[in-house]
């Protein structure tokens, strides 16, 4: 669980680096904005996952790596990769 917004961004950067098999230095923070997500899985449920249908405040994190943009979603409870190669992942 992230302790703060900065922590969430760092967790997202590390995760993306791992998925792309590159050094974390190659992942750049493009934007971090507060956002309301449609449910408690931040609109990024994994397969087979159910979530509370309550509007949830969190951060939408956009990262750049190898010329492409990637979206992560986070709140104080979780960090999720959103549609990374078509699938959601809770990290």
């Amino acid at each position: 669980m992230p302790n703060s917004k900065d922590d969430a961004v760092q967790q997202a950067r590390n995760d993306l680096a791992k998925r792309l098999k590159i050094d974390a230095g190659g992942v750049k923070e493009k934007a971090v904005e507060e956002s309301d997500f449609p449910d408690m899985a931040l609109g990024a449920a994994e397969d087979g996952e159910m979530s509370g249908q309550m509007m949830t405040r969190g951060w939408r994190i956009t990262l750049d790596a190898e010329g492409k943009s990637y979206e992560y979603r986070a709140d104080k409870n979780q960090v999720r990769a959103y549609k990374f190669k078509g699938k959601n992942y809770r990290i």
């Binding site: 408690m40 899985a41 249908q53 309550m54």
Partner: protein, 465 residues
């Protein structure tokens, strides 16, 4: 009398018949209730009156500026729109079965009689009249119908007085319903969620506790679990304590103790909340644990617990046949499954949301305090049954706190709560009849027309007729 006049008179006669029928129904409600109910214009303050007064014959100015305007035959809709726009008004709806009549909303909130006069001067207008509001008057607020809970004024879903910019009367008519029943501790509602803070000051007295006469839960795979306070399907333990807050919020909507001078009032002042935990501290869980928790409910029902409703404020877009099957099994055991329609602002007819889109489920959309479909709410004229308040809903939270939250998660327990009220009055009602009763107990809402099956907001008072 020429032919046009005959049609006009026939139309007006039809309107009067419909009004008289509605007034008669209100009178029947009055006779069924222990306290006085009468019909008043919205602007009228409470004054001593007889129960026979009907404001349809009065000419006082109205709190609602809406007027009914009959445009002459042949006036195009485009011209009507031009005329109303010129007055800074808006056509809200065409009135079915009263040809030519349109409901017009005055955006300046001017006095209704002034607005009527404006329209009567137009050559395109044949007739106009104020749209008298017919409503069940709030009961005497000094009586027990209004709970003593200090934060009740913020519970617009139960009694919307227009607080915080809301629309007066856009609520579930809870104060009227409570004249008949405030619930029963013989009705058990399962809250299938993140668990429930069963020690919360406003919930503790309404929590289900396994009676000594009932043996602990036994499952061939899980073994025996001492389910004194419910069931935790995540770790298959006996402790369903909430570590998120979502389930506690839903539980408070259904059954925060009413009239106890503490916090808020639930739709039911008295009820038994059976807490079930299958979602973790983050507010998410998996299908297998949801199924285990539903199986637990079915088992307890079979062993004599009067658990008749499962409130499910969760979901996803992924279909599970196993989950659908166990929900069907619950229905076959006389348990109503109420589920959130989802918060993606999408049409569930095209992109289903589960479990709300399964058969045998009552799917619930969310309304805001202005009686509009909440901006986030899913909808679907085939797949979403009913709507309830679900935005900025105040309810119980962890650590004896109270918080406002939004989502179809919040609308779902409102409907589950009304279902529990109905069962308090009609304990032997079958699940099929209960579902049918709820679907027939709505107030039509313009914003829901063509959006959900009933086109209406749940009305607790109607459900208790």
């Amino acid at each position: 009398m020429n032919r046009n006049n005959i049609f006009i008179h026939l139309a007006l006669a039809l309107v009067l018949v419909l009004v008289a029928a509605f007034a008669g129904q209100l009178n029947r409600w009055r006779k069924q209730m222990p306290l006085e109910v009468r019909i008043v214009p919205t602007s009228e303050k409470k004054q001593p009156t007889t129960t026979e007064e009907i404001a349809l014959t009065e000419n006082g100015s109205l709190g609602s500026p809406e007027v009914l305007v009959k445009f002459r035959s042949g006036v195009s809709q485009e011209r009507i729109d031009q005329l109303t726009a010129a007055f800074h008004d808006r056509v809200e709806d065409r009135i079915e079965n009263a040809e030519g009549w349109e409901a017009v909303d005055d955006l300046d909130n001017a006095d209704a009689t002034t607005v009527v006069d404006q329209y009567l001067k137009l050559p395109e207008v044949e007739d106009a009249e104020p749209n008298y509001v017919i409503k069940l008057e709030d009961f005497d607020l000094s009586e027990s119908i209004r709970p003593s809970d200090p934060q009740f004024d913020d519970q617009w879903a139960l009694a919307n007085s227009g607080q915080k910019g809301g629309k007066e009367g856009a609520d579930i008519s809870a104060t009227v319903a409570w004249a008949k029943t405030t619930g029963s501790d013989k009705v058990v509602v399962a809250v299938l969620d993140t668990g429930v803070d069963y020690s919360h000051e406003d919930l503790a007295s309404n929590m289900w506790v396994r009676p000594d006469s009932l043996a602990p839960y036994h499952d061939d795979q899980l073994g025996t679990i001492d389910d004194a306070n419910g069931f935790n399907a995540i770790d298959n333990s006996a402790d369903p304590m909430d570590d998120n807050g979502h389930g506690t919020h839903c539980a408070g909507i259904i059954g925060a103790e009413g009239g106890n001078d503490v916090g808020i009032a639930g739709v039911n002042w008295k009820v038994q909340i059976m807490p079930l935990k299958f979602m973790n501290s983050g507010g998410f869980g998996n299908t297998k644990d949801a199924i285990e928790a539903i199986n637990y409910v079915i088992d307890r029902k079979k062993h004599g617990v009067n658990v008749r409703i499962i409130s499910a404020s969760w979901g996803s877009t992924q279909k599970s046949r196993a989950l659908g099957d166990v929900i069907r099994k619950a229905y076959e055991n006389d348990i109503l499954f109420v589920a959130a329609a989802g918060n993606a602002s999408t049409n569930n007819d095209r992109q289903p949301h589960y479990p709300s889109s399964y058969d045998n489920v009552l799917s619930v959309a969310a309304l805001d305090r202005k009686d509009q479909l909440a901006s986030f709410s899913n909808y679907g004229v085939k797949s979403v049954a009913i709507a309830a308040p679900g935005a900025e809903i105040l309810s119980t939270w962890l650590d004896n706190q109270y918080e406002e939250k939004s989502g179809t998660s919040m609308a779902t327990p409102v409907v589950a709560g009304v279902a529990a009220l109905v069962l308090a009055e009609h304990p032997r009602m079958s699940v099929a009849d209960l579902k049918e009763k709820l679907l027939a107990s709505t107030d039509p809402i313009v914003a829901l027309k063509g959006k959900i099956a009933t086109g209406g907001r749940i009305n607790a008072a109607k459900a208790l007729e």
